[in-house]
């Protein structure tokens, strides 16, 4: 059938248009670019994302990259959604196959009736061709070799050239693209010219040889005004800055590293005295995660707002210190940007695999406040909230995001700030209060909420106490007495119960006639939201609860009790959220139907819809 396959190749002649069996879709399609990491494709891909966004069209980009610096396959997925859906979709209308090593997979993944753009400088393996896919060959490599000198430049410009071809094929406004390039290279004008040339190599060739645009195409909208493209780690770093955090300690780990990078950048911009060069912050790159946690706890003990960004393996190493901070009641903020586990796992792929290990981190009876942002906007707000909660409840607080939220650019409403905000420092006794006291007891709960007032070192002699991770009574004195020990740990349980009422409440969306529920948290939100809408279209009405924090408060339990069947959607193998819900609420397990997706890529609405349908079919059978 070789002849038929060749016939489906896009003819390299403007006069003979390719056939399209698609009626055409505007601002509602997905495409991806397969390249090799280390070849400079990231900037071309973000240029595409940014240009579509600047045309006012809702868009999301997902970087699927290897844990390697150079030479392995990497993909960038862009979904254009006029309806504003932000979840990843695995249904690709077009794939740009720049990496011969993944040609087979890329060609296989294009949806039936879709398009494949490839570099025709080299022939495509005929055995891989498909009848139901239109192949668009552009000699990108050859054109760049002719137009540019130097190996690196030729490689880099090939990326801009495919961006140019896509601009023609999808109708991306070339002026918008050029404006982005101008802004990007404002300080290196020489590069603007070469980028423009490369852009036109692809653009002009596509226009000359193919019918442009394709039936999947873009049209200007006005749906991104007031929005930004921002990643969660940058947003969380801004949260730390605005919360007034002054001490950051960390050990580099993917995918949390960019959080501290961003915090350092923002501090350099906003927290350095212009005249003296003095810094109103201190960042410690620690020797390991244990030390990073220790620095944060030391700084928190001494009264600074301190934090550490890490990922699962870091949380494991920090365990001992987390227990210390819990028992000694020291505020500390931990960002856990989750990646796939167990062990080293897939460090550049996403997962929600740390829910249980964060909720109960460390040995003995421990339980921690954890916040689950679902997008970069919440990374910003929850970062600020985390510092307030940590100081108010004098305990470690975790902001649990993941690689998808942390490292991918999301379209979110531009961040805003209320200048009336003042940090909640919690109960801290002042020198004046101490001077007026008969005796200060560190762990004395006066108002019955489980929270005791703390004193800071250096403030007043009467505030002095001994902080110990070993058994202590309410006066902070060492004890091995059963009753004195129980009094302290029971108060800690009360404190966490109080905290449960102060953490962000779940977000509940009820739907007319819904008898079943669906629960998700974090980065699953976008996909679940879209799936709930699609399922409603199929006649399956679901009430949706998005959990935003741990420990769970009454509304979470109420939601569970109000529905006989609840789907729990999460990205881990063992259903950790489901286990946590069962453990904490005592709800019967057979009411919780588990939907798990844990391959390392961001969740899609399709996976949720199919999962719900399959479970319902099973129940019916």
């Amino acid at each position: 059938m070789r002849g038929a396959r060749v016939a489906r190749l896009f003819p390299e002649s403007p006069s003979s248009n390719g056939r399209h069996d698609d009626g055409g879709r505007v601002n509602d399609f997905a495409f991806k670019v397969g390249t090799v990491n280390g070849t400079g494709s990231a900037s071309a891909n973000s240029l595409l994302l940014q240009s579509i966004f600047r045309m006012g069209i809702p868009v999301c980009g997902k970087n699927v990259f290897p844990s390697n610096i150079q030479g392995l396959p990497t993909w960038y997925e862009i979904r254009v959604s006029r309806d504003g859906w932000t979840a990843r979709t695995p249904d690709f209308d077009l794939i740009v196959a720049m990496n011969p090593a993944t040609h087979e997979r890329d060609i296989a993944e294009v949806r039936s009736g879709g398009w494949l753009l490839h570099d025709s400088s080299w022939p495509l393996d005929a055995a891989l061709l498909r009848d139901d896919v239109t192949f668009i060959g552009i000699p990108l490599g050859r054109m760049c070799v002719e137009a540019f000198s130097g190996g690196r430049e030729r490689t880099l410009m090939k990326n801009i050239a495919y961006a140019g071809a896509l601009a023609a094929l999808l109708d991306i406004d070339l002026e918008v693209v050029k404006e982005s390039i101008r802004a990007e290279f404002a300080k290196k004008p020489k590069l603007i010219d070469s980028n423009f040339r490369a852009l036109h190599l692809g653009y002009d060739y596509a226009r000359e040889h193919f019918a442009c645009p394709l039936p999947i195409r873009l049209e200007r909208m006005d749906a991104t005004r007031g929005h930004v493209l921002l990643d969660g780690n940058t947003a969380a770093a801004l949260g730390c800055l605005y919360a007034g955090a002054t001490v950051g300690a960390w050990y580099p780990i993917t995918p949390a590293t960019s959080l501290m990078d961003a915090f350092g950048r923002f501090c350099a911009r906003y927290r350095v005295d212009a005249e003296t060069g003095e810094r109103r912050y201190c960042i410690v790159q620690a020797e390991d995660e244990l030390a990073a946690a220790g620095v944060v706890i030391g700084a928190g003990w001494a009264g600074a707002r301190a934090f550490t960004p890490t990922a699962g393996p870091g949380i494991s190493l920090m365990g001992e210190f987390i227990g210390l901070a819990y028992y000694t009641e020291i505020p500390a903020v931990f960002f856990d940007v989750q990646r796939t586990g167990p062990s080293t796992g897939m460090p550049t792929r996403t997962q929600q695999g740390d829910l249980l290990s964060v909720a109960y981190a460390s040995h003995g009876d421990t339980k921690h406040v954890a916040l689950f942002p679902s997008d970069p906007g919440e990374c910003f707000r929850f970062a600020v909230e985390a510092f307030d909660l940590a100081e108010r409840f004098q305990t470690p607080v975790f902001v649990v995001s993941d690689l998808d939220i942390g490292m991918n650019d999301w379209m979110i409403p531009a961040l805003t700030w209320d200048d009336a905000y003042r940090p909640d420092r919690g109960e801290v006794v002042t020198a004046e209060q101490l001077a007026a006291m008969q005796r200060f007891s560190r762990y004395l709960d006066v108002d019955g909420d489980g929270v005791a007032a703390r004193s800071l070192p250096g403030v007043h002699p009467r505030g002095a106490y001994f902080t110990r991770g070993s058994g202590h009574d309410k006066h902070a004195a060492y004890t091995e007495d059963a009753d004195a020990y129980r009094e302290v740990v029971d108060r800690l349980a009360l404190k966490l119960a109080t905290a449960a009422k102060a953490v962000p409440a779940p977000e509940i969306r009820e739907r007319e006639g819904a008898e079943m529920g669906i629960i998700a948290l974090g980065g699953c939100h976008g996909a679940v939201l879209e799936a709930v809408e699609r399922l409603a279209g199929e006649g399956i009405a679901l009430d949706y609860m998005r959990i935003r924090a741990f420990p769970f408060d009454a509304p979470v339990e109420d939601f569970l009790r109000a529905h006989d069947r609840v789907f729990v959607v999460e990205q881990n193998r063992d259903g950790q959220l489901r286990s946590l819900l069962q453990l904490e609420t005592g709800i019967a397990g057979d009411r919780l139907l588990s939907l798990r997706d844990y391959g390392g890529v961001p969740l899609s609405a399709r996976a949720v819809v199919e999962g719900v349908m399959a479970q319902l079919a099973e129940v019916a059978a």
Binding site: T246, A299, A302, F321, P461
Partner: protein, 351 residues
């Protein structure tokens, strides 16, 4: 139990210091270490040090890890904030305390297990950062709380209480500190308060990481014949390299000494560390010579004690970081938050 309060008995003859505090005011809880423990002598030396330097107790943060040595922090300066952290990780906690409040005097007390095994990395990195703190390593060559295992500082051939001899080479904390670029390196003996106190004084005033290895015999598990860290062995083998005196800044004009017979090293704040020279010339500002000196005597079976090395003008963590002079924990929020207008402007870069 590390928090048995001492009875509030005050000897009428106790002399008050410039703050009107007596030595008794610098004590802490009753020690629960074994009678005769070297660590209690270190505690006494720390009490004397802080009293004589007119240290305000509540301006001190005293930190430790876990172990017999780490209990020490409970036994001095009851009006200082104390922190028993986790095993081997005190340096990181101290680093955080220093980062948050640079005005606190930080005293870290650790042991050979804490510092040379589980916490070896943290010790090294606190040295690298030159965190401003006094770091006292109470070194007895043995794990006390777990009843008598060799530590990483046990000498080859040194015998445990049950008779077996150690065959692994020890880590010498002083040579380690010198190699890593520590800016203040000393070794002393818990039984020699005359030497230890001036060294502690200089260390407490040092503008960087002041490392003091104190041989502090364990009377229960490592004070028998055949142990190289017993009282008898230490007294016999320790060689004082030069008597050291520390002259605080405020007493400088009162000091009278013969410049010809001593070497004085001015400290950052103007106070002086004074070495009275004995049999040999010793230059405490030459790192390589210090290393060679310790090594040479070690080969002869001798433990050199004294202030081995001092570099007083190196940048500490805050200087390296260019931190503002005011403590970070206390900066007004207005100086930390860029405000809504800045955020709005910043957001334009992400449109």
């Amino acid at each position: 139990m590390t928090s048995i309060a001492k009875p509030p008995v005050r000897h009428p003859a106790l002399e008050p210091n410039a703050l009107g505090l007596t030595r008794r005011d610098y004590e802490g809880a009753m020690s629960t270490l074994c009678a005769g423990c070297g660590h209690d002598s270190v505690t006494a030396a720390l009490v004397q040090t802080c009293h004589e330097l007119d240290v305000e107790p509540h301006r001190v943060a005293k930190l430790s890890g876990i172990g017999c040595s780490s209990k020490t922090t409970a036994y001095f300066l009851k009006e200082a904030h104390g922190f028993n952290s986790v095993h081997g990780r005190m340096p990181a906690v101290a680093t955080g305390v220093s980062a948050a409040n640079r005005e606190l005097a930080i005293v870290g007390v650790s042991g050979d297990g804490d510092s040379l095994s589980i916490g070896l990395g943290q010790l090294c990195h606190a040295i690298r950062r030159n965190v401003r703190m006094l770091y006292v390593l109470e070194n007895n060559g043995v794990y006390g709380l777990t009843k008598g295992q060799f530590s990483a500082s046990a000498d080859v051939g040194s015998k445990a209480k049950k008779g077996e001899a150690n065959r692994q080479k020890p880590i010498d904390p002083v040579l380690l500190a010198l190699t890593l670029g520590a800016t203040f390196v000393a070794r002393s003996f818990s039984g020699d308060k005359t030497q230890l106190v001036p060294i502690l004084k200089a260390g407490l005033r040092h503008q960087g990481f002041a490392f003091i290895d104190v041989i502090s015999p364990c009377v229960t598990f490592n004070d028998h014949e055949g142990s190289t860290k017993s009282y008898a062995s230490t007294r016999e083998r320790h060689r004082e390299l030069a008597p050291v005196d520390f002259i605080p800044l405020r007493r400088e004009i009162q000091a009278s000494y013969d410049p010809g017979g001593a070497m004085t090293v001015p400290m950052h704040d103007g106070s002086l560390v004074r070495f009275r020279k004995l049999a040999e010339d010793y230059d405490p500002t030459d790192r390589d010579a210090a290393y060679a000196h310790v090594k040479r005597h070690q080969e002869q079976g001798e433990v050199v004690t004294g202030l081995l090395y001092l570099e007083d003008d190196a940048d500490d963590m805050h200087a390296l970081n260019q931190t503002v002079a005011a403590p970070l924990y206390d900066l007004p929020y207005e100086q930390l938050c860029p405000g809504s207008a800045a955020l709005t402007e910043l957001m334009r870069e992400f449109e």
